[in-house]
Symmetry: C2
Subunit: 349 residues, 2 copies
DNA sequence: TTAAGCTGTGTTACCGATAACCCAAAAATA
DNA sequence: TATTTTTGGGTTATCGGTAACACAGCTTAA
């Protein structure tokens, strides 16, 4: 029976040297004669040696593992981001421990415990919202290098990569206004998420700059997960002066909204225009439909990971950095020019 | 300055006991008086103690980490699968180390090294193809519990969860035949991937059962990644008797094909029908378009992970198990009844 | 010729936790 | 009361590596 787990001691014995010599060969440290080096290397290959990360971590106090926590793995924004993060981590020789909070604070907390226990070298963290402050502070207390993604968390000072939510929202709403829409509803994420607040601010600014009145009845705050709140939509649609366009704070909300509208017999964009933040994945390539403020999701992950690795490998402390990525207005067919109402037509159904 | 990393020795000292007693409290082993237990617990909370996984792994020879390797993180099939795997892993108290081979054998190999070095307790492995046999054998040599996903690899005996590729393909092609199509092309993945072979077999069977001739000119073998092979499509479209329908072996191929067709001024389904394996994500919910054989991706991940955990925690050795999940024919609007040709029309361009 | 320096390698201790073994004091039994 | 058993806990060695130090033998400069 072949020995299953080979250690440096097995190598050392077979090569007739000490374990320390083997360690030196592996790490290219110290002085080793070319002769010994070759002999050790050969034995290592013969025995198919693989170093034990746990043992190495224990003494080096480094795990070579980074962690990526995203808020919603069903959202193409986050999976694309994950891809960017993975590429950058792999390039720098780190392993990636992957976690998905499902926009759920408790799950997020569990994962933070896991990260601390694993002693990961750094964390790329897309917070669920302002509540994440405790979880983030735990990481900071333990001096774990940290880069935050997508959402700012009040009270936390750390490197961060985020999108320009306010400008993106403003551009999107201005686009709707330019199409003639005057009654523009917003269906927003939870107000304890920074992006939801900023997108709301952008929405307001666009209205103000266009000389349109703010109507609180047109604004609904939900969550960022898939939309199920039919009641909210009912409330909007039964207003005396219902909206002719809806701005959804993210992609999955928009998908749910459009489905709900269809169930009510309303067509997009014929009856109502819909625009949202974030693109929605490969399907959009075959039937370009949603008008969106597309964020560079891959860049979020890539740049975030690069910042993190720099932070980990930096000699001296640096002040927190902030990268803000613009979003890109992509006009497709879910929005269109407001049709003049035929008021004398009396057609209600 | 607060001590950053707290060990059981710090707890022991402050609680006036030995490290072993602290270890016993943490693991609920041995005999500890209620009094000491409480005291130790209190100190642990005060100092915000978090066990060191590496140290624990070193002695227990278990890491509590499982690894998930998928073949293409841009494909919604795999991300949905990942979600199922993550849910099952979390439920059982395991951490998940995440890897993406990008359908690339060399990347896959790197990740296998990483898994071995990490001494993961088990691996959920979606192979890139038949070449993966070496990588899989490395894991097996080291007796790492293993469950394979989605693609069979000749020469490897292990638990496996896969879809019924042959039946799915057959159903899809039969659907095209039932719409009157007689010239049905197949754009397939690489022939060294089991699903590509089986989908081809299903395609053939459907043709044979329908009494249609096989025409090798109608079959193209590419890869499973996003489609860029315009030349292949050109060849199909310039045949004397070109296809009126295309069966794509997976979702991303279909997306690429449809884009390419559009660039050539061909409309789907008006000019040509397209059907494929695997659904394409949330966008499909707003504009249902692609006719697909949808596989239960989430179940792939969930069941695979459950098998893996059973395998890890099983007392005795069990023979390899195989779970085959059926796919679901979803007829949408990318396929439609073949229109009678106006042969006397002479319209060639 | 001799002290000093370099080369190549071994020894020892330690990272943080736990298994295996040991043992004093208290409780139970003879 | 003497002996056995139980309770509650401590000691030591070990997991697989690596840092720090030691040191023999050869080279080189004084």
């Amino acid at each position: 029976m072949i020995k299953l787990v080979i250690t440096i001691y097995d190598i050392a014995e077979k090569a007739g040297v000490s374990a320390m010599t083997v360690s030196r060969v592996i790490n290219n440290t110290g002085r080793i004669s070319e002769d010994t080096r070759k002999r050790v290397r050969k034995v290592m290959e013969e025995l198919n040696y693989i170093p034990n990360s746990a043992a190495r971590s224990l003494v080096s106090q480094k795990t070579n593992i980074l962690s990526l926590l995203i808020a919603d793995i069903t959202n193409p924004f986050y999976t694309t981001l994950a891809r960017g993060a993975e590429d950058a981590a792999k390039k720098a020789g780190y392993r990636l421990l992957f976690a998905n909070s499902d926009e759920n604070y408790a799950k997020e907390k569990d994962y933070v415990d896991m990260m601390l226990s694993t002693r990961v070298d750094g964390v790329l963290f897309a917070p669920t919202g302002d509540l994440s402050v405790d979880n983030l502070n735990r990481l900071l207390q333990h001096q774990i290098p940290l880069v935050i993604l997508d959402r700012e968390v009040p009270g936390i000072e750390a490197d961060i990569v985020l999108g320009d939510s306010k400008e993106g929202a403003k551009t999107l709403v201005e686009h709707l206004v330019s199409l003639g829409h005057r009654r523009i509803a917003m269906i927003n994420g939870s107000p304890d998420v920074s992006t939801a607040r900023l997108r709301y601010t952008g929405y307001r600014e666009a209205l103000v700059l266009s000389g349109l009145p703010m109507d609180d009845e047109l604004v609904v705050h939900l969550g960022f997960r898939v939309f199920h709140e039919d009641a909210a939509l009912d409330a909007l649609l039964t207003l005396k002066d219902p909206p002719t366009a809806i701005f959804a704070a993210n992609n999955l909300l928009a998908v749910g909204i459009i489905q709900s509208l269809r169930e009510r017999g309303l067509q997009v964009p014929e009856d109502i225009s819909v625009a949202c933040f974030d693109d929605i994945g490969p399907a959009e390539m075959i039937n370009p439909f949603l008008t969106v403020a597309a964020q560079p999701a891959y860049q979020f992950g890539l740049l975030g990971m690069q910042l993190l690795i720099e932070r980990i490998e930096a000699e001296a402390a640096q002040p927190p950095r902030k990268i803000m990525l613009p979003s890109d207005l992509i006009i497709r067919s879910s929005t269109r020019e407001l049709q003049r109402k035929e008021t004398n037509d009396g057609a209600e159904g």
